[in-house]
Amino acid sequence: MKTFKIGGVHPAENKLSAASPIREAALPKQAVFSMFQHIGAPAKPVVKKGDEVKVGTLLAEAGGFVSAPIHSSVSGKVSKVDVALDASGTRRMAVYVDVEGDEWEDGIDRSTTLVKLSDRPELDGKTIVEKIKNAGIVGMGGATFPCHVKLSPPPGCKAECVIINAVECEPYLTADHRLMLEHPEEILVGLQLIMKAVGVNKGFIGIENNKPDAIKLMTEKAKGNEGIEIVPLKVKYPQGGEKQLIDAVIGRQVPAPPAIPINVGAVVQNVGTAFAIYQAVMKNKPLIDRIITVTGKSVKQPSNLLARLGTPFQQLIDECGGLPEDTGKIIGGGPMMGKALLSLDVPMTKGSSGLLLMNNKEARRAEPQPCIRCAKCVSACPMGLEPYLLSKMSAKADWEGAEKNDVVSCIECGSCQFTCPSNRPLLDMIRVGKTTVMGIIRSRAAAR
């Protein structure tokens, strides 16, 4: 079975919520929309205090090309435009909306009838990308890179295939899995739309084989759709990484940055993104909700919730049986790449794929011991780096050395830290090195 070639680990899967169907979360009393829900320039608010908004009303426009607009997911009144604590742990600009009723903007098709690509022959690539851009769609796997940027290849690059990332290699998370089981046809139309947008006729959907039901269902539904292939993959973390997925599915390696997947002819989109693209293009619905897995060993009812953006995490936890008493750490995202939250008043954003409640015992990190030079981190690194070395260089502020050893290639998957028998905080330090070196490279480019 296919998988990527170097490195990788296999953490315990713990997919507790795999059998729990998606259910709709209740509307929040107040929704908070961070202006930083995507990578790139922050969105610029276009509403002010006192404005009436409906579901789908534009709240903020894109702040540049690499940016995305933000729409209201609720109807009500804008109560303020002010800073709010978000999942990144910092206070940043946000729009607060007090919820009243649930009124939708005209033109959004809320019916569940499937609209096929053949029903809308007038759609061309340009229109599709434009619609995606205006709907504020970003990468829903968690990286939140504005979708339309990926679908507009830079000059000189030609896309050859589209790969849908349905790997969901993070332990605990099941949002993508449930989405495939419940909306397979919509995902396939979404994929066709992406293929049309970038002008290719080959599409893959990569699924890890710990989801046999999804593989079976998707294969069945994809029958008759020419050019679409379902690729079962061996279970290995971090297969959901863009570069790892390209290696696993089409066997090509993306060179070190600044090269991007399009340089090897691949466009990768998350399965949730494909679904959102379907809704945006065929149903005129901007990105206002998403599926989030609320899970954890002590959670009463691990669930997959369809929740409106801006809903506070506290409410989502309440919907799943409340906060367990022995909670030691709450992570936004999965256990490998997610980020611990400082507060539960934090609102859900476009990139919130999961909410993991760890109990006291799991939450505590073990005491770091000296490095025993076993090089397990080197064999685990999916990018072929030397994590022990990079971490040391970062700790000693040897930025030149870190740059020479390709610290910017690090995808921050955490495989090194996971595998380290001495519990060394390798990724913690490497991240410092990566950010600093990237800053140095940027300022060097600016000075030129």
Partner: protein, 291 residues
């Protein structure tokens, strides 16, 4: 047997002599000319190689001084570690005079002690301020205050900074601090300021770095500056205090050390250093504020 030893000694001696001649000739022929004053200046510098002067190490600073002296002035050149005495020696060597430089000291502009600033979360990653900074706000509700992992302490070459386990904040040993600025650069939040030491070491400083709006800053820490601007009003006459981004800042050059701002601050964020004990009246005022 004796013969063998003699031959060996002679051969080695000859090789040594020949090498010495070659080395002598080469060292003269290919000598790199360096201004002899650079070595002389280097000899009086502290050789801490801390980079506090802004040059790469003491030799770099010595070369820069000599170059500046050729230009006729040593203005702007200061070895913060050696301070005035060393700069006078340097000036002597270069045949110049040097203007008196006011001594400086590192000031930790945060008073978010464990008592003043409650911990809301526990950080269990790598014990480094730079790492903790990447998690966002850190352990407390203040996104600007001391993170307490001691990156600054690790950087200090002069043993002048120490963590106080009770307050969780670094403390500056003014006797040892040379104002090289290594700690200020190490702090990811820019809390440490290299500031004029002031007459008799006296100075008045806003011990806060919080740029959040008053309500948020107030909630995060008992000793935070809330940007109310009362201090600015009391200092209207001297215009030493400015308020920017909800944070007051006292210009050390303009400050007249009247300490009225200290009394006016409702949060006790302004502190006077090294002043003689206050008279009773002002102490009462401070206690009221503190309670």
């Amino acid at each position: 047997m004796v013969n063998v030893i003699l031959i060996a000694v002679c051969v080695l001696g000859l090789i040594g002599l020949a090498s010495a001649v070659i080395l002598y000739v080469v060292s003269h022929k290919f000598a790199v000319h360096e201004d002899p004053r650079i070595a002389k200046v280097g000899a009086v510098l502290p050789q801490a190689n801390c980079g506090g002067c802004g040059y790469p190490g003491c030799s770099g600073f010595a070369a820069a001084c000599v170059k500046a002296a050729d230009g006729g002035s040593l203005e702007g050149k200061l070895c913060p570690v050696g301070g005035q005495p060393v700069m006078e020696q340097v000036a002597d060597i270069l045949g110049l005079s040097v203007a008196a430089a006011a001594p400086k000291v590192a000031v930790v502009r945060c008073n978010g002690t464990c008592e003043n600033r409650p911990r809301l979360a526990q950080f269990d990653g790598a014990q480094s301020c730079r790492v903790q900074q990447m998690t966002g706000m850190g352990e407390t509700g203040c996104g600007y205050g001391c993170l307490g992992c001691g990156d600054c302490v690790a950087k200090c070459q002069f043993d002048a900074l120490h963590m106080n386990p009770e307050t969780g904040l670094p403390e500056v040993d003014e006797e040892k601090c040379t104002a090289c600025g290594a700690c200020a650069k190490a702090c990811p939040r820019g809390i440490i300021e290299i500031r004029l030491k002031g007459p008799k070491g006296r100075r008045v400083v806003v011990l806060c770095n919080n740029k959040d709006k008053g309500a948020i800053a107030n909630k995060a820490c008992k000793a935070s500056c809330i940007g109310c601007g009362k201090c600015v009003k009391t200092c209207e006459k001297f215009e030493a205090i400015t308020l920017e981004n909800n944070l007051a800042y006292i210009d050390a050059e303009k400050c007249k050390m009247c300490r009225k701002c200290e009394e006016a601050c409702p949060k006790g964020a302004i502190h006077g250093f090294n002043f003689p004990p206050k008279k009773e009246k002002s102490e009462e005022v401070k206690q009221e504020v503190g309670s």
